[in-house]
Symmetry: C2
Subunit: 148 residues, 2 copies
C-alpha cells in the first residue's frame, strides 16, 4: 500500500506542510513532479487529510490550556454530550475514553477566569453532565508528530 518513500514524504510533511517538492525530491532521490504525484495519491487515499498553520495561542492571549474529565449521570449519552460540547468554541478536542471519566476534553481559554466561566456556564449546564475534573496545563513540555 504505502512504501518507504511515502513514509519519508509523510514524515517531512507532518512537520512542515509547506516543505517544497524540490526539497522532498532531494531527500527521496526523485524529481519534484514524482513527489507531487505521490502526494496527490496520498491525498486521494485520505491518508493526508489537510493541513494547518501552527499558531501560538499563548501570544494571542489564550494562556490557560486545560484538560477536563467529564462524568455522566446517565448511560449511553456520549454522542449527545459531544455535540453539545462542539457548540462551545473553547473546546478544541473531545475524546470518548475508558477509565474514570466518560469524556476527556481539551479546552483553551484566555485565563482562569475565562475557564471558570466556560466550566460553570457552559460545560456543567449540559444535560447528562454530572461532574467534571479539571487539569490545568502549567506547562506543555512538548508536542510532536509520530514517525512512520
Amino acid at each position: 500500500m504505502i512504501d518507504v518513500t511515502d513514509r519519508k514524504i509523510l514524515n517531512i510533511l507532518s512537520k512542515d506542510a509547506k516543505a517544497s517538492l524540490k526539497l522532498i525530491g532531494n531527500e527521496c532521490n526523485m524529481s519534484a513532479t514524482a513527489v507531487h504525484l505521490r502526494v496527490k495519491k496520498l491525498e486521494e487515499q485520505k491518508i493526508i487529510t489537510g493541513s494547518k498553520s501552527v499558531i501560538d495561542t499563548y501570544l494571542l492571549g489564550y494562556q490557560t490550556q486545560s484538560f477536563i474529565g467529564i462524568y455522566f449521570n446517565k448511560a449511553n449519552i456520549y454522542r449527545k454530550v459531544s455535540q453539545a460540547l462542539y457548540e462551545i468554541d473553547e473546546v478544541v478536542e473531545c475524546n470518548y475514553t475508558t477509565g474514570n471519566f466518560s469524556l476527556l476534553v481539551k479546552v483553551i481559554c484566555r485565563d482562569n477566569k475565562h475557564l471558570t466561566e466556560v466550566l460553570s456556564n457552559k460545560i456543567q449546564t449540559i444535560d447528562g453532565v454530572a461532574r467534571t475534573e479539571t487539569f490545568i496545563c502549567l506547562e506543555q513540555t512538548f508536542t510532536r508528530e509520530i514517525e512512520f
Copy 2:
C-alpha cells in the same frame, strides 16, 4: 498589535495552511501580495510558528490513541521525566498539569498490545514514575482549531 484582518487570515490558515493568498485576499478585500506581507509579519512575530500536514494515523495502522496520567514518587522532577518521555517515539504530547497527576501525556500506538509494551517497558521504567493511569480513546468525537 494584530487587527481583525490578521485574525481572519489566522482563522483561515489554522484550518488550511495551503489556502491560496488569492482566496484569502478575496475574503479580506486585499491583493494577494498584501496578504503575503501580513502572513510574513505574523511569522516574524512568531504568531505563526509553522505548518503541518494532517495525517490519518488510523489508516497507517496506529489505531490506539490514549491519554496517560503519570504520578511521581519524588518532587520537582517533571522536567527530567518529560525529557525521558521525549525519547519515547509513541508519546506525542506532554503536559505538566494541576490535579491528581503530575504529567498528562498523549500516546499513539498501533494496538493495545503495543500500548501495553510502551507502558510497561518504557514509561513505567522511567526514574521517578510511581504509577500511571490510562485512558484509552474509544472515539475521538472531534478536534478543531480555536477561533480568534
